[in-house]
């Protein structure tokens, strides 16, 4: 299953759905790196509103993707983590490390547009 990546100005948007396989994620990581390389996008929002759980594997993959994209000079925000998912993430001690998060997609985009304010 190919995960769509949308572009709006300098910002890329992508949304993760339930039941992604490792293959899907690796493909997404490659696609993101390609698109950022081509377009010079400076921001990326990964929206996870529709995920009803984030286990340690996915949490690690998200952190890894953010780091990877960050190396290309693109700021990443993960948006839409559901409250119960956020609590569970903390309980298992797998809180997303070194990743900026936003309540929803709109806030995520605002954070990126504010640009210089989002130092990690």
């Amino acid at each position: 299953m190919k995960i769509p990546i949308l572009k709006r100005g300098n910002i890329l948007l992508t949304s993760l759905q339930e039941d992604l396989t490792d293959r899907d994620i690796v493909d997404l990581q490659e696609d993101l790196l390609d698109i950022i390389g081509e377009t010079g996008s400076t921001g990326l929002v990964i929206d996870v509103t529709s995920l009803d759980r984030i286990d340690s594997y996915l949490s690690r993959i998200l952190s890894q993707t953010a780091a990877m994209v960050g190396v290309l000079g693109c700021n990443v925000v993960i948006s839409g983590i559901q409250p119960a998912v956020a609590m569970t993430l903390l309980e298992i001690g797998g809180a997303l490390k070194n990743v900026k998060t936003a309540l929803n997609l709109e806030h995520g985009i605002d954070m990126l547009l504010a640009g210089t304010n989002i130092e990690s």
């Binding site: 396989t21 009803d52 759980r53 286990d55 594997y57 559901q82 609590m87 298992i92 001690g93 797998g94």
Partner: protein
């Protein structure tokens, strides 16, 4: 009167995990677990079933549900015939992982459920997790 149900699934691929997760979610919803409990429990099952394909190739995931007038309970047994865990005590320490991924696996899972039991030999690993809820009367 107690109603109990059993359900067993083979786990050998991510597709099997996806199927197990959607069944688990459905059972939890039907039984009346809260949203937060559902997320906790499905996250725990997700960790354990992923461990199967990571460390053992294949295994099984069994759901048992029990309900009576006052109480409901779900128990999941995740079993594989992989190489087993050499040092369970160490594996249960927060932050420990032999595979170089996040070391939150087993101790993290334990935090999410009401009851956690693990046994492991050189012939395989078996983890049992339980969560229960009280019915409002």
């Amino acid at each position: 009167m107690t109603i109990s149900r059993h359900n067993q699934l083979d786990i050998a691929s991510e597709r099997d995990i996806a199927l197990a997760m959607s069944q688990c979610r459905k059972l939890l919803t039907e039984m009346g677990f809260s949203e937060h409990q559902q997320v906790r429990y499905t996250t725990a099952v997700s960790e354990l079933t992923h461990n199967i394909i990571k460390y053992a190739d294949n295994g099984v995931c069994k759901f048992h549900t029990y309900m009576d007038q006052n109480r409901y309970e779900i128990e999941t047994i995740v079993e594989d015939n992989g190489p087993g865990i050499a040092d369970i005590e160490k594996a249960m320490e927060a932050g420990y992982s032999t595979s170089g991924t996040l070391g939150i696996g087993l101790s993290g899972v334990q935090n999410l459920v009401d009851k956690f039991l693990i046994t492991s030999t050189s012939k395989g690993t078996r983890v049992e997790i339980t969560m229960h809820g009280d019915r409002m009367t």
